[in-house]
């Protein structure tokens, strides 16, 4: 069953008098539970595609259905509600609210959803434990390493058990070891909870972890490959490097 259906998606920007064609007609379907990476060089349109899927940007043309919602014609409030209830976001860096602790950052989503206090606390603690941060729950982002911060971001993205997690270059600011750990974590969550993960990346390691790799070039899909258990080969490679 598809969680994302994209047909003839076009996105143009006005860039200093020149029209920039960021996406030139994308057709794409993503099924529930996929662990997919969108790769491509800078300016290929991968972040634009992710933003459109996340309802953060409006397409110039084409249709886009996410988690059963046709994004065309949705109001800002409806898009906001959809992001809150159906999508988890992980950004490149500086993901977290600095004045909240790790636990509160995770809880924040549940609080916005109106989940009761005790359930909120329990779920947040549990998820932080799952991402290996049981001892860091009371620390604020500045007291955490980059990798730990991204783990909190992952915990926040999945705590409400969304149908889809969008991750924009999640390993870009992490060293290889920390990045691999984070990918392991997301891969496990993908398998355990059947959460769909969609990455934009130009990190080789992410591409290797992905079970489906979509390459974008100049706003168009250049290739779309489904693979099996690349994680294992990546792990082998990592072991050799270590």
């Amino acid at each position: 069953m598809e969680i994302i259906t994209i047909k003839s998606l076009i996105k143009n920007y006005d860039g200093e008098g020149l029209e920039v064609h960021a996406l030139r007609g994308i057709d794409l379907s993503v099924r529930r539970g996929e662990f997919t990476a969108i790769a491509g060089p800078s300016g290929s349109g991968k972040t634009t595609l992710l933003n459109l899927i996340g309802g953060l940007d409006i397409p110039t043309d084409g249709t886009l259905t996410v988690a059963g919602n046709n994004l065309a014609g949705m109001s800002a409030k409806e898009l906001s509600d959809m992001r809150l209830n159906s999508i988890g976001f992980i950004f490149q860096a500086y993901n977290l609210i600095p004045v909240l602790t790790a636990l509160e950052n995770v809880e924040y989503i549940l609080l916005l959803q109106g989940v009761g206090k005790s359930e909120r606390r329990d779920r947040s603690r549990r998820i932080l434990k799952e991402v290996g941060l049981a001892k860091e729950i009371d620390r604020r982002p500045k007291e955490l390493s980059g990798g730990q911060q991204q783990r909190v971001a992952v915990a926040r993205a999945i705590v409400s058990e969304p149908e889809l997690v969008l991750a924009d270059e999640p390993t870009a600011n992490l060293d290889q070891k920390t990045g691999a750990g984070l990918l392991d974590l997301m891969h496990d969550l993908n398998h355990k909870k059947n959460i769909t993960f969609l990455f934009s990346t130009h990190d080789r390691m992410v591409m290797e972890y992905a079970e489906r790799l979509i390459s974008l070039t100049d706003g168009m899909i250049a290739s779309d490959k489904k693979k099996k258990s690349l994680k294992e080969s990546a792990e082998k490679k990592l072991k050799k490097q270590r």
Binding site: L56, S80, G88, F89, N95, I97, P98, I109, L111, L112
Partner: protein, 416 residues
């Protein structure tokens, strides 16, 4: 309660954001504190000095209320004399809000001593009753005394007039005026006391004589030109004045409150208040701009953070609420500090008033009779000023809060 629950996350975030940049917050708090405390303190000194000026004016000679024959006040002539009727006399005797009353006769005249002659205002009083409505008897210079009912051809005169006449206590001066019946009223009067009030006009022109003698000298035949009323509480003046005005015989009388008797004082107070309000408004603007600047900077610094919050599902309304709560917290803390400091200053200067007695001569040149100015701290001053400062702070934060809520999450996230 529901609203509070819904806002609890915004409240918590706002409180923590306030302390994210402690230095800036403390500086903003200080700005609000200084603005709020200055307004409270200046208003307290204004209120205190107005009250003192009014009290000094009332106490010296004016009284809270004066009752005259219609037309007296404009003409200040003995021709406008009257005999109070029974209802008026009864009201004045029985009203529990009235502290004292005194009857007076006023006449214009000339006084002469040696080769000096000056125009003067003669005021006949009932000495014992007069002591209860005015403080003039307390201003007699050493070597002299106040009048007694049996003083006959004896008077007290203002210090400046005595100096101009070159007269002293014990001297007899010639006085000429017009009697109520149109006859010449004249005689030699012995000076038994010289007064120096806080009002240079009294010192320059006023002569006071006993009523019993005035009845004879001016052929008053039971008539008088004014009744002076002192109420127990100044704030009751208007009520008492209106009650007297409602008496049937008041139709032929003019019943004037101290504010009508001393319009120049009221005008001075109104002008001073006006300038005060302009000054307070500027202070409020400065304070509010301080809050605006802090909130604006805080929002600007957190553009990416706000973008991420919106991207993950925070609604614009929640962003507005959060930013407004930040300004509310800052404004509230600043206002509480300001109220405390302003009240403290006001109380200190109530106990230790500003004393310009040493500059009395200089102040007299500006017709200022009051030289000691205590501050007067009122609850309404503290509450109203605090509320206004708080509201200015919050109102000025609406614009940056709305701007924060209108951020495009995508553009905001791209900012570092």
């Amino acid at each position: 309660m529901k609203l509070f629950k819904e806002s609890s996350i915004e409240v918590m975030l706002a409180w923590r954001n306030v302390w994210k940049n402690k230095r800036r917050t403390i500086l903003t708090l200080l700005t609000i504190m200084v603005g709020c405390s200055m307004i409270i303190f200046f208003r307290a000194t204004q209120d205190g000095s107005y009250e003192k000026m009014i009290e000094d004016s009332i106490a010296a000679n004016t009284g809270h209320i004066q009752i005259h024959e219609k037309g007296f006040w404009d003409n200040q002539s003995i021709d406008y004399a009257f005999i109070p009727g029974e209802p008026l006399q009864s009201y004045l005797d029985k009203n529990s809000g009235i502290a004292a009353t005194s009857r007076r006769v006023h006449a214009a005249g000339l006084v002469s001593f040696k080769n000096n002659t000056f125009g003067t205002l003669i005021q006949a009083v009932e000495p014992e009753r007069e002591k209860k409505v005015s403080t003039l008897h307390t201003t007699i210079k050493p070597g002299g005394r106040y009048l007694t009912p049996d003083d006959g051809m004896r008077i007290i005169i203002g210090a400046t007039l005595a100096k101009n006449l070159d007269a002293k206590v014990g001297d007899s001066i010639a006085m000429i005026s017009q009697g109520f019946d149109g006859s010449i009223a004249a005689g030699n009067f012995e000076i038994v006391g010289i007064f120096r009030t806080l009002n240079p006009r009294y010192d320059q022109a006023l002569i006071i004589m006993p009523m019993a003698q005035a009845v004879e000298t001016f052929t008053m035949m039971g008539y008088l030109t004014s009744i002076v009323v002192r109420v127990k509480n100044t704030s009751d003046m208007e009520k008492t004045r209106d009650e007297i005005r409602a008496l049937p015989e008041s139709e032929r009388l003019e019943v004037m409150g101290w504010d009508e008797l001393t319009p120049e004082l009221i005008q001075a107070i109104v002008m001073d208040k006006l300038f005060g309000y302009i000054f307070y408004f500027i202070l409020l603007l400065i304070t509010a701009f301080g809050v605006l600047n802090t909130v604006q900077m805080s929002v600007f610094e957190r553009t990416r953070e706000l973008g991420i919050m919106m991207a993950i599902g925070t609604r614009p309304r929640q962003i507005v609420t959060m930013v407004l709560f930040e300004s509310m917290f800052i404004s509230l803390m600043g206002v509480l500090l300001g109220a405390a400091v302003g009240s403290g200053l006001g109380y200190y200067f109530y106990i230790h008033p500003f004393d310009f007695s040493g500059y009395q001569k200089e102040l007299e040149q500006f017709a200022m009779v009051t030289t000691v100015f205590p501050a007067k701290l009122t609850v309404s001053n503290v509450v109203f000023t605090s509320l206004l400062t708080f509201l200015f702070g919050v109102l000025f934060s609406i614009a940056p809060a709305r701007r924060a809520a209108k951020l495009n999450p995508l553009k905001a996230i791209r900012q570092l």
